[in-house]
Symmetry: C2
Subunit: 570 residues, 2 copies
């Protein structure tokens, strides 16, 4: 192809595509320049005055390099990679660093491969990070385990780009043997390792970095950012649906600018649909005062440099022709999106077929449960005082409250209390594990709710005030292959939403998912769920045994501060 590029660059032959009359951002010198941008095949071949076989008039528009999302779990959108692409590509994102941590916890390497294969023919480069921490903690039963040996074997795969966020930072800092094996395997394979080190400072941070870890997306304070950048990390500024740190953009200076990148981490379909993706992050950090050229550089060149994606993230000859033409640098509305030299989206609509789904059996029918019965949900307490979980609105941090309880026939009485039963039912290996607990203040009444998303092992989380309804909810989730469910005891009706891919994602389109999801959420609120909570997604973090304070896994109630299981009887 080089000969073709050269001939077109010299204008001896017409370019395949020319973006005419563009203003474009030059991320190398931090300037806005004017000219035509000529494209041959998948490459930019020159800027200046060019004629093309195809031409797009970009008068009045500003052309930017396609955005790169430095860290994202596609699963969090609850969409298939195909549908995910159909939402983010028209927003201007052309490359993502994807860590299929969730589905790999459910399906093992088959989950990771599924994301890779489903993404393969999309107009979106999906760089697959091998999930490093499967399971995320040893205190639960996941669908798969990737130990040091497994990482060593799989990191060499061609389709694996690097090692995903090393959230097991205590294991790194303590030089846990299996952890070290994972890190060494990634280095031996010459692959980048993403980090995840919330509030890790000083000598602990030095130790963590000695694992050869390159990035962090968990920074909260300016001090933390300063230290992490100073010690060589790239810092992701995150624009997730719940976890957000766009405010960190205020710590960007001319001197440290090259070490910041953007990411979304976890972003739900509804957010992607309504607000956008990296474009939305740009809009907001520019509105908050970061100059737009720096902002765009964070989302493009910086991320490309961090991840060693050469010839990407800039508008210059031989660079990949991933381009987005926006209305202006305030609204970042994407008028045209070019991926690999092809126009793939216009006016926010994809120009590629998003109806096909790659759906291997390996990620379907992943809810493995024996037939559940009402008596499985009997909760026998020893005395009259017990520990109940509470959840802080809008957050994933839980509290522990000692509550007075009554029992009847060996089962806790919930009537006339603001308590509910919570159960985490293992759904991968038919162990029959059920962790049970009490949950206070959620507001639901008259049946049961359930969901097969529960970080990070994604067992079934059930909530209810009626054992029979909880059993019906579990059995229904098994029957539909995963998703969300509400059982209304009074009417006997079951309402549900199917997440057929690993019990995490829907194979349908975003609109259908959103419509059904909203209806189900509305029903949950109608049945009493406090509107301060995200009716289902707030449940999904109740088993995440790395975030304070009291959590419930299929193995039991867990005190995160003591980092040990704890008795429900207070």
């Amino acid at each position: 192809m080089i000969e073709k590029y050269i001939r077109a660059a010299k204008r001896d032959k017409k370019a395949d595509l020319v973006l005419k009359n563009a203003s474009y951002i030059d991320v190398f010198t931090g300037k806005i320049r004017k000219g035509d941008i000529a494209v041959v095949g998948e490459k930019i071949v020159g800027t200046g005055e060019y004629a093309g076989k195809e031409e797009i008039d970009c008068s009045g528009l500003t052309v930017l390099p396609g955005y790169i999302d430095g860290h994202v779990h596609i699963e969090s959108s609850q969409l298939s990679p195909e549908e995910f692409a159909s939402l983010i590509v028209p927003r201007g994102t052309t490359t993502i660093i994807a860590d299929p941590h969730e589905i790999t916890n459910v399906c093992g390497m088959a989950g990771c491969e599924y994301i890779a294969k489903a993404s393969k023919n999309l107009p979106l480069d999906v760089k697959i990070q091998l999930p490093s921490c499967v399971p995320a903690t040893p205190f639960e039963t996941s669908g798969a385990t990737l130990n040091g040996k497994d990482i060593k074997k799989n990191i060499k795969n061609k389709y694996i780009f690097g090692l995903g966020e090393f959230m097991g930072y205590p294991g790194v800092i303590s030089a846990n043997r299996d952890t070290v094996k994972k890190l060494e395997a990634a280095h031996a394979a010459g692959k980048i390792i993403d980090g995840h080190a919330p509030a890790v400072y000083g000598y602990d941070l030095n130790a963590y970095l000695c694992g050869g870890i390159s990035t962090d997306h968990e920074c909260v304070t300016g001090k933390e950012i300063e230290e992490k950048i100073s010690k060589g990390m790239y810092v992701h500024i995150r624009h997730g649906s719940s976890t957000q740190n766009l405010g960190n953009a205020k710590f960007v200076t001319k001197e440290n600018m090259r070490r910041f990148i953007l990411c979304t981490d976890d972003r739900h379909a509804a957010d992607l649909k309504e607000n956008g993706h990296i474009d939305d992050a740009l809009r907001k950090i520019v509105a908050n005062g970061l100059d737009p050229i720096s902002a765009v550089t964070l989302a493009t060149l910086n991320c490309a440099e961090c991840y060693g994606l050469k010839w990407r993230g800039a508008i210059a000859p031989f660079y990949l022709a991933d381009l987005v033409a926006v209305d202006n640098l305030d609204n970042f509305n994407a008028k045209y999106v070019i991926k690999n030299g092809k126009l793939v989206a216009k006016d926010g609509k994809p120009l590629f077929d998003t109806s096909k789904r790659y759906l291997p059996d390996s990620v379907l029918d992943t809810v493995h449960l024996k037939e559940m019965k009402a008596e499985d949900f009997v909760l026998t307490l020893k005395g009259t005082r017990a520990k109940a979980m509470t959840v802080l609105p809008g957050g994933v941090v839980t509290g522990c409250e000692i509550v007075d309880v009554e029992s009847r026939n060996g089962d806790v009485v919930l009537e006339n209390t603001d308590l509910l039963k919570l159960a985490v039912v293992e759904r991968h290996k038919l162990t029959g594990n059920i962790g049970k607990g009490l949950f206070k203040g959620y507001g639901f009444k008259g049946g049961a709710m359930g969901i097969t998303i529960s970080h990070d092992s994604h067992n079934v989380i059930l909530l209810g005030d009626d054992n029979e309804s909880m059993a019906r909810a579990a059995n229904h989730l098994k029957q539909i292959g995963g998703g969300m469910v509400i059982v209304d005891k009074a009417s006997g009706e079951i309402y549900s939403l199917t997440l057929d891919i690993g019990g995490l994602m829907s194979s349908r389109n975003a609109d259908d998912l959103q419509r059904d999801s909203r209806a189900l959420i509305e029903r949950a609120h109608a049945m009493g769920v406090n509107r301060e909570y995200q009716a289902f997604m707030s449940l999904a973090f109740l088993s995440l045994a790395v975030i304070p304070k009291l959590k419930l896994t299929d193995a039991g109630l867990f005190d995160v501060e003591k980092f040990a299981f704890t008795d429900i009887n207070a």
Copy 2:
């Protein structure tokens, strides 16, 4: 090793080496920080307060990352790689991107391998760029040819880091088939390509860049730099012995800073010894007004990023412990140099053995000539007017002057003129090629001078006013295996300096070379060479058929502006 790094980082075990009480440059945030720098094995493991098995007190010193020379021909020092390292490592240079273009033109891949092997056990990382343009032009006979097929084969070698400066820019811009093959081979191997594109602008530059070329060290103007950086190139600021563009540092801004790097390109032993290497460049650009932190960043992190040298070029955990402790950021005097975690130089003196030389037969005895006779240097002209070369003082650009000539017995008469005979004798393949010309204004009288360095094919260049002396000079160069020679016709004496390695470099130490070199140069001046010229090195560029205006190769007189051979008869 990761476990060891982590334990020391956490201070559970002592570090191997600690630089105590250092001020050090943090190139990531552009700040000077204070603390101890702890090292284990070849890595930095942390900054803070550390104890080490070995400790170096750096109170009052400033510690910098080891310097990286982004582009250098070791051969231009006229020293072996071992001796070269003994001069530059104590100055603080710990990594070089070396293009063995000169010796490869003489010895082919054996020359390239020699540089790699001779450099292997030095406390200096020598990244070998495969010379891309051997020969540099088709208008001369070189010792070797590396065509597209050869490049394709050799670029894959593990010891080859990238493809050396693509000086044949007309071939790139015209998409010459063999040139394209070379470029494609480098990309297929995933290796970086260095550039060399003097005064290439606009659509030609676009075309050149479509070869996938990353760097340029030939920029002269601010406009040229702006365009090249804007189009994605890294720009080397060069501190060579003759070619210098340190003044380009004034074009460094906060916005474009990350795209500048430093290099020396061609730097002679005497300069290295007396003035230094990258340290000297830093000293000078800081004296000229660039802030020292930016200057150091150019010489370290930027170069590492350009060449994809991860974990190098900064002082941070897991980074290579290549460090230089300097007195201050004005003089950049290197007090200590650490390479791969070991103290390798102190107070400007190497602490490593520099006496051993790797000297394979393949780079020795490279002057292949039949026995030359006086009659080989007879220059028969047709008329009374001829073209004579002139050389502009201090430069490599030559002129063409039409001169009146007399002939006697079929040979041009030089007595009572300021003309000399110039001859380029092919010395690689026994072709018997002799290019002959006239040279005006150099000032030498009474015999002959010769040298086996002549860019880029390194044939024998002879200059003289006596055929017999010229033949003796050539034969002597053959006998000593290459170097520089003066034949004094009056006394019959021969004075010479041996450059036994490829006829380009000495296997002796820098002091001996410098002493003998000075004596020989002094003798040349004593025999009349105008002191405006570098007596021998000015000759070495007279055959470089890519620099205007009139040049002489073994194939004849060459008009660079017409890009064709030309008749000496005017």
